[in-house]
Symmetry: C2
């Protein structure tokens, strides 16, 4: 719409007329141009835009070729169907050494969150948690000795994701820790996650004081044996309907698990009451579960891992099946590029800090819990969870907008996980790395915030995004993989 001047309408040429009109500008790209025009008193509409593929021309060309590639479309269809068909069931609670091959009796190996990283490069909370785990295992008898042992390389340190497992924050799983076992009934694949210890001074946030280790011993002892009976006695082990119900009760199943925890508490209670477990042990175990609204998080993570793993390994698929952070780097994996990690520096977390702490005190984005976002939950399902903004910041309108925006980078929405405030539309699910690289819209993640130093613990919670470079790198690798397949020498992902 153009509004003309009415005085001195002399001259008839269009160019002259144009320059006599008030400017109305649509600015695309750099905000700075729009700011200058606005400062000069003219009207300007700014459209956020950045060139695809990080403005890398060669990568942009590859990306353009991948968009609409029939091989990728078909691969994504298969991967996404496997994801939708997944039926996670909570089938057991066992010691990690009895379920995860790399942690078998005698192995001195500890699993951590995120992509691979050497001890010396790890962030404070991850080092603190590993030190605590060495004490817990009894491989050393002081924090000092434990730290020396870790630094010496005498304990193997590997990502949870290399062993079918996930762990929140530091993500530490050592051989004597109990792990939830979630099985995808559709394809039989299993995923593991450790126990939730509560909030505050806990191992996963890097705390490792006596109180933390004592709690771990109780969790690995009486609590473990009690809850193993509870899990094995569940009359209904299906997690998908429970998670769907929790989304209708204000959870997003990453940083808010109050409803899912309460619903599972009911099932555990009925199983334990039907058991022969000593009543006092039942009381102590259920009191711990009842007092921890985040208890379900680790089960949610194992369920999510089992669902995205179902979609992994389809050659040519650009679907993201892992997003994980070690507090230094953020790493992703694609269904079609096998075991490769695509990494970039982990972002800081914008959020609500506990009194006395600021972003200066915080470790960067940390933990395998972004498996919930990879699965369409957490930040992707925030519309279901307006109350979570009291924990991670922002407004309920932001929460809804986040879910809507994520629909622009996913293969679809999951009809099993519906979001009431979006008229019961499914949660955005199946991140397509092509769409992220093309649109510049980054996956959003709700997360806890750990102090950057070992031994302190949680200092807040907030919201962050995955870094773009992971997705650009992944696209380049997928293009190479497709070229190799075309040349008859592709590695089956």
């Amino acid at each position: 719409m153009v509004r003309g001047h009415h005085f001195r309408p002399e001259g008839g040429k269009q160019m002259k007329s144009l320059f006599q009109q008030d400017l109305k500008v649509a600015n695309v790209g750099l905000q700075g141009f729009a700011d200058n025009i606005a400062a000069a008193g003219s009207q300007v509409s700014h459209l956020s835009w950045a060139p695809p593929a990080g403005a890398d021309a060669a990568l942009g060309w590859k990306l353009a070729c991948l968009v609409g590639d029939a091989r990728i479309e078909e691969a994504n269809r298969i991967a996404y169907e496997r994801y939708l068909a997944a039926q996670p069931r909570l089938v057991d609670l066992v010691l990690a050494k009895d379920a995860i091959a790399g942690l078998a009796q005698g192995e001195r190996r500890i699993l951590h969150s995120g992509p691979p990283i050497a001890w010396a490069d790890m962030c404070g909370p991850q080092q603190g948690a590993i030190t605590g785990a060495i004490l817990y295992e009894g491989w050393a008898d002081s924090l000092d000795a434990a730290e020396k042992m870790a630094a010496s390389g005498k304990v193997a340190l590997e990502p949870c994701h290399h062993h079918g497992a996930v762990g929140p924050m530091a993500g530490i799983i050592s051989p004597s820790m109990p792990v939830w076992v979630v099985e995808n009934a559709d394809r039989g694949n299993r995923a593991y996650c450790n126990l939730n210890e509560g909030l505050g001074k806990v191992l996963r946030f890097g705390a490792n004081s006596t109180e933390v280790i004592e709690r771990l011993r109780w969790l690995g002892g009486e609590f473990f044996t009690t809850m193993q009976v509870a899990v094995r006695g569940l009359s209904d082990a299906n997690l998908k309907p429970l998670m769907a119900q929790a989304l209708h009760m204000g959870d997003e199943l990453h940083n808010r698990n109050a409803a899912a925890s309460a619903l599972l508490f009911k099932r555990f209670t009925m199983a334990l009451l039907a058991s022969k477990v000593d009543s006092a042990a039942i009381q102590r175990a259920l009191a711990f579960v009842a007092g921890n609204d985040h208890f379900f998080l680790n089960i949610s993570m194992a369920a999510c891992k089992s669902m995205t793993d179902a979609a992994h390994g389809v050659p040519g698929s650009s679907m993201v099946t892992v997003m994980a952070r070690n507090g230094v780097n953020f790493g992703i994996r694609l269904s079609g590029t096998g075991d490769q990690w695509f990494q970039a520096s982990a972002n800081p977390v914008d959020g609500l800090y506990f009194p006395g702490y600021t972003v200066e005190d915080a470790a960067a984005d940390l933990g395998d819990s972004a498996i919930t976002e990879t699965n369409g939950l957490g930040g992707f399902a925030m519309a279901a969870s307006p109350a979570i903004v009291q924990f991670v910041g922002g407004t309920p309108a932001d929460a809804t907008a986040n879910s809507r925006r994520m629909l622009s980078i996913t293969l679809g929405s999951n009809p099993a996980f519906t979001l009431p405030p979006l008229n019961f539309g499914g949660t955005p699910a199946g991140i397509d790395a092509r769409l992220v690289a093309d649109s510049g819209v980054l996956p959003i993640i709700n997360t806890g915030i750990a102090h950057r130093k070992a031994g302190v613990g949680q200092i807040g919670a907030g919201i962050t995004t995955a870094p773009m470079a992971c997705f650009n790198e992944a696209i380049a690798a997928l293009a190479a993989e497709l070229d190799a397949i075309a040349a008859g020498k592709g590695s089956a992902a």
Copy 2:
């Protein structure tokens, strides 16, 4: 905005010019005028409006005098403060005969929902439930004999509200039924409600088959003795924080109580595990609670009754402290008009019917459960509960709009009960009868739907409104009361 014709601009008079323009009409009041203009092809904006006080000029004059009346403002301030200060605590579960004077041992009296009504005038489900209660009490040994007894007048039938009690749907409380005891710690007043039996074929929806009576006997026997121990052993009996938490978990605490039921289940479990009650009895009791997502409804109702009762009896107050229906009439009470009921025909319920049923099969609006709306919950708190539209109909946007609209007829919003989707604004609370009569905005109510015949049970759930005539009548009575007070002969309400 007026758009002119550009051809034949002859003549300069404004009137002539007006008649040559396209019509743009703002219509206020009767929709029919707007429809005609729209049908003739012109643009019309319709504004819903009806004259205050049901277009009764004399009543309208009284209402105009009451709006801004300093005595009412002061009375409402006191009533509303007492409401806000209320601290409902779940203090006991006892047999009705041991708590409610009118039901003491030997009395043949049964309480029902809504305003007073004679047996012959009652709706089917209320008659069916009373018949069932007579069987349950053992006062008759067949449904036929029970019905004859009720019709003969040998059993006194009185409103729950006349005895400090409330009951959902038919609202039947007979002497041997257990009732929850909720005490307002701020003022010491107590409120009572019966037990929730679940959905479907249950006494409160008018069903009275053997299965229904057997369930009542178990609820009044083993379940009662078990849950009495649970209530008396609660480590935290405060209901207000639990209800506030449930509002953040998708409940509106009338037709959706899934979160509150799950949260209370945790407290009951911990109390029972610490008790000496037989493990099998605990199992059966908790299984019943775990299987009924509406279990908390009756506790919510008693809590609401204790909170609105706190505001009752302030001379001159126009605050509504009771809304209740008996399936024939809808009745309200004001804080400032004592024990008087103001009644009108109960509305039908627009909702979602179970397969095979329609509104033709339905009883009119029924039950004391509108005490939740009187207290700012239920329909008033629907914004917190987008998922409830799957039970009562409409869209999540309707649910939010309902909460916003109710703010126009309430004295304020309750900071203890916040609604996340409304940016954590308080739920609309303290209905002012003046505002209802003046604005024509009717209190909205979420409710279950009973079959109109005795013995059938629930056939759906939906949304309805309170009828305007109650509020007009209440305003007239309040005006008379104020006149009497001014003349020095007012009855202290």
